[in-house]
Symmetry: C2
Subunit: 245 residues, 2 copies
Amino acid sequence: MNSTIETILNHRSIRSFEETKLEDDTIQTLVESAQQASTSSYMMAYSIIGITDEEKKQQLQDVSGHPHVTNNSHLFIMCADYRRLTYDADEKTKENMEKNLENSEHLMTATIDAALAAQNIAIAAESMGLGMCYLGSLRNDIQKVDEILNLPDHVAPLFGIAIGVPAETPEKKPRLPFETVYFENEYKDHEEEIRKFNNQISDYYASRSSNQRQDTWTLQMQRRFQNPIRMDVTDYLKDKGFNRR
Amino acid sequence: MNSTIETILNHRSIRSFEETKLEDDTIQTLVESAQQASTSSYMMAYSIIGITDEEKKQQLQDVSGHPHVTNNSHLFIMCADYRRLTYDADEKTKENMEKNLENSEHLMTATIDAALAAQNIAIAAESMGLGMCYLGSLRNDIQKVDEILNLPDHVAPLFGIAIGVPAETPEKKPRLPFETVYFENEYKDHEEEIRKFNNQISDYYASRSSNQRQDTWTLQMQRRFQNPIRMDVTDYLKDKGFNRR
């Protein structure tokens, strides 16, 4: 196994960091790593906003609810971005393009572009001994994040990445069994394998070093999705010119 | 610079592969790499389908239009998957969960989960000396891909990954300049920098070793989005239980 795969397999989300800031050249290496990811049709349909302003960090933490939004060495926000695609287009061309980019297909394309880029940041950071955690919790109030970042039309925040020198070494969290995630040639239902995984995860929660509890994966999912969450994301996206048709 | 970052920065999409198949343990390492990526709220909201059946590969190539859909050492299809989340839920719980998962927020969550996992496959493969290319072109007929893979409700194909031993060494394609992708604290429009990039990319297209042409990034984007594409993705997703509200 090579060191890259070791880095990948050794991932755990880090939520507690030492009090240091990333050097500018580290930030540049991480962004360049992001940029070298594949991109759909050469669109490069994302922008990355680094937050250094402490007041903005606090506002973002208020949205997210997590202390590692402020307590980190650097905070990136990944945004879907179709805005630059229409720069210098005449009015009619611009109108056509915007209409064509406002479908669900292109919400997906921009989201995929941004996530591929983000994962390059994650792996590059971890390869340097840094730790990271994604922050989907910024979508708890996506409109507010939009305002904090002063985003124009056709730019929308997707998630954050908190990065820093790890101040904790959490256990690796079990993943779904291989045979419930990977299938050959067609989809296969896998209820029995998920039941086995629930037994395994139940042992993990009962025996891990902190936050011990009785739980299974299935029960967690049932609790989490028993009530609607983030229903405002739908209207926000439409308002910004995404996912309209 | 460490070897992981070298691998990341050395990426170029490979579309021509030697005639070899991946070993089972390589496939397993790639899938395990995918699985170790971060996941939103522990949902692991994706499945990966490996295509070994030559007839199915040909059908998928007919959708994509690209010969490297059949000519590769392995083909993965990344799918958004909320199906297993409701296994073993009682009827009322299941109905509630499905309704709550059918919003735009959760199309994004599953898409992000799947793309983070996919990029781990890409980097892991490249770290072994393999090459890869994403296949968003499978969404040219997303319903047809769904049928080929026999996908149930709440599972939808997102994109493919063709992997293999590279039989070509394409040049690295220029990326947008750092200052058009990365901003501090808030979004900044960047028309002038994109014009400079257009000059740079125009030189690249005029001087590269194959497919020389006169072009800019802005003109490419204008041509590509002058007409609607993949408008059927919208209805397909709703039909499968995604992005309904």
